[in-house]
């Protein structure tokens, strides 16, 4: 997230990042629940939101994975996904979950 000049700002940014990381698994879980319910549009909107915020907070893998997930969910929202599309959605959800878990336990 760049080098802040003021240590107080650095501390605020670090605290915000830790707080966000701690809530990342729940955010991915929210998408997973919507996918299970086949609420494709709701899941797409949740993925869209997480795509922007995760990358802004510095969690690039979560950001890119949820961006790919959003693309799949956009198609699913237009027409019911077939088995292959469902498999891709499941795999991307799994990757997003793994990246979110790593953000909690991984290095800052």
């Amino acid at each position: 997230m760049g080098e802040a000049r003021d240590p107080e700002i650095d501390a605020l940014l670090a605290a915000a990042r830790v707080d966000f990381a701690g809530r990342l698994p729940a955010k991915v879980a929210e998408i997973e629940v919507l996918v299970i319910r086949e609420d494709w549009q709701g899941a797409r909107l949740a993925a869209h939101k997480l795509r922007g915020s995760a990358a802004t907070y510095g969690f690039a893998v979560v950001g890119t994975t949820t961006a790919a997930l959003e693309e799949e969910l956009l198609l699913a929202a237009v027409s019911a996904p077939d088995a292959n599309a469902r498999a891709r959605i499941a795999e991307l959800s799994r990757k997003a979950r793994a990246a979110a878990d790593l953000a909690v336990t991984g290095p800052p």
């Binding site: 909107l45 795509r51 922007g52 915020s53």
Partner: protein, 159 residues
């Protein structure tokens, strides 16, 4: 990127508020301490980081709204110098909020910058056509965002 911002501002029919213009005339660089920005985003995590970026790092006075309706009420009451407006929001989205702000005499001339994760050329052109003075992409860099906003406001003040 800066020349694109200036070009967008040049093509805009909007002008910066008088208060902002005075700040520009008094300083070769925009005196952001006098300027107030309304950040509108339904995601509290984005609002938090935008407030840190624009307020603590950029030195702007920052107001926050969680949705379009709240933004309209706040803008009419507080008259910010610029609105940073999320496109994808529930209930009243960014484009609907822009149209509502343009329909109110008190807020019709407040410059609006869209804030979006969808930054394809077509989408940027669509937002530009709605009368936005700029488009800021998500994810954003907390160090860079104030510079982007200063650039947009300076370009508006010049033109």
């Amino acid at each position: 990127m800066d020349h694109q911002i200036v070009d967008q501002a040049r093509r805009s029919r909007l002008s910066l508020s008088e208060r902002a213009c005075r700040a520009v005339l008094c300083n070769s660089l925009l005196d952001v301490t006098a300027l107030r920005i309304l950040v509108v985003d339904d995601d509290p995590d984005i609002r938090r980081l935008a407030a840190l970026s624009l307020g603590r790092i950029g030195g702007f006075e920052v107001m926050l709204a969680a949705g379009g309706r709240e933004a309209i009420a706040l803008a009419a009451r507080e008259m910010p110098d610029l609105i940073l407006l999320d496109v994808s929001m529930p209930e009243l989205d960014g484009t609907e909020t822009l149209r509502a702000l343009r329909a109110i005499p008190a807020t019709e001339r407040i410059p609006i910058v869209f804030f979006t994760a969808a930054t394809s050329e077509a989408e940027t052109a669509r937002l530009d056509a709605l009368g936005a003075v700029g488009v800021v992409a998500k994810p954003f860099d907390v160090e860079d965002l104030p510079r982007r906003i200063r650039g947009i406001m300076s370009a508006l003040a010049v033109h």
